[in-house]
């Protein structure tokens, strides 16, 4: 059986720079896959390739064994690929409720469905009290959760999370990991998550894909990654082992 989402030999070149080189990523149905690597390793570029914002220079992207390399982001969203952004990108002048409704109406869903799903998503993420607040008036940590709620409203089959805990403190970070776990349990979707917080990623993911300078360094279970000498020297450092 084909994996849920896969890239085959994906390379991305920006002029002379190789942002990604021959990367093969596989995401199983219902799997949480961590994507880690030092700054500039190509993690966000790979997420952009998966969500359709970056056309690979060579290689293919497949969803359920079907080639989707040439599909633009809206088409991929309609096929069930949903993403969040490192810089959140909420609709600033819309309420939290409306932000979530966009995820349903954006794909051609009905207004009533949108209202209902937004309400559920906000309840799941404990945001229902902020439903009528404008997104721009929210504190940063809450904005991140709204970003997640919005992606959740789309009821995706694949959820791509770009540093969901960036800029959050330790407590918020742990809560975010718990939230991702809960969403995953509820939707049963495949999740790809980029994160710098290694402790969080190793605790959260079924498998981890390590990138370094645009190439795949290692793919394995959190236990394998934690003890891999090459990964440790390239990226994790001493603190991760401790």
């Amino acid at each position: 059986m084909a994996p849920l989402l896969r890239t085959r030999q994906v390379s991305v070149r920006f002029g002379g720079l190789r942002a990604l080189d021959d990367v093969a990523l596989e995401l199983g149905d219902g799997e949480i896959l961590g994507l880690i690597g030092p700054n500039g390793a190509g993690k966000t570029t790979l997420l952009n390739v998966l969500s359709g914002f970056q056309r690979p220079s060579t290689g293919e992207v497949e969803l359920d064994g079907r080639r989707i390399t040439g599909w633009d982001p809206p088409r991929r969203a309609r096929a069930g690929i949903s993403r969040t952004f490192q810089d959140v990108r909420l609709f600033a002048d819309m309420t939290v409720q409306e932000n979530c409704e966009v995820a349903v109406i954006g794909c051609g869903g009905r207004r009533t469905t949108a209202r209902e799903r937004a309400r559920q998503a906000l309840a799941t993420l404990d945001l229902h009290r902020s439903a009528d607040v404008l997104a721009k008036d929210l504190p940063y940590g809450v904005q991140r959760r709204v970003g997640l709620a919005r992606a959740l409203c789309a009821r995706p089959r694949v959820l791509l999370l770009d540093e969901p805990a960036a800029g959050l403190n330790d407590d918020e970070s742990a809560a975010m990991a718990e939230t991702v776990r809960r969403i995953h349990a509820e939707l049963g979707c495949g999740v790809v998550v980029i994160e710098h917080d290694v402790r969080m990623i190793l605790g959260l993911c079924h498998r981890v894909h390590v990138l370094d300078h645009g190439v795949t360094l290692r793919v394995g279970t959190p236990d394998e990654i934690r003890t891999d000498p090459e990964v440790v020297s390239a990226y994790l450092g001493e603190e991760a082992i401790a």
Partner: protein, 335 residues
Amino acid sequence: MTRRIAPGLLCTLLVLAVSGLALLGPETTQRTTTQMLVMGVISLGTYVFVGNSGVLSFGHVVFVAVGAYGTALMTMEPALKRALLPDLPGPLTDLHLGLAAALPVAGLLALVVSVVCSPLVLRLDGMAAGIASLALLISVGVVIGNWDQVTRGSQGIVGIPADLSIGSALPWLVAAIVVALAYQLSSSGFRLRASREDAVAAASLGIRVRRERSIALVISAFVCGVGGGMYAHFLGALTPGDVSLRLTLLTLLMLIVGGIRSLSGAVIGTIFISVLAEVLRRIEAGGDLGPVTLAPHPGVQQVILALTLLLTLLLRPGGITRGRELGWKLLRTGT
């Protein structure tokens, strides 16, 4: 539902109140008010696209121009057309419609032009889109200025029935409010407003931004075309200068001062600038103003209007309404 249509109701009431007051006034006031109602339709038409998409357009007066000349050719006396425009195709010369019948046709003509233009303009974003729309406006201006068989070029068309009054303009403005409100409450309008806030995030949620923009553009062009037809019947004569950059700037002035991101802003801006322009016009002309006698101040209108725009952009960039709708407080606390 009542709460969602509240801005439309309140804007309509506002327009009715201002028009009612004007009917009590002298004929010059009534004429200025009629012009205000025409500008209201043009501003609302422009707002449907610019306000909801966040893409600035200098080109919407193209649709006004198409509507204006189109209406003129449909409603003028055939005998007059034969004399002024001998090279006009026969069926068009013989066509003689009333204003009410001609305006929807004028809207459709503008709509067709927008369908032709949209692939050119909608590929662009931000500054580039603004400049491209300006280029379009200038090109169409040149065509109007030289197409002697149809527009009589720079000589212009005269003898258009100048029969627009407050009473005959008002229903069209109310209709424009209804259309603008219906679009902004529709799913397409909702998607377009999301893309205005963040086009990248919108695309990631399934929104085909260019498609939503073309829907808004087509509706917007229709309303502007109707506004153009009304403008022709307000003026009674048309020259290329009537539908040029000057009108574009006046429309944008109204939208920006009122608040370009809301329907209420378009309506309030139109009323505010119309009243201000009229007061300034009287000061400019000088003479006997009730208790005081004023010397003429030529140019004061232009200067003050320009300053109004400048001060709005500096001190209250969201305009008078700051992108909110009338009745917004009700929307908030009503639940």
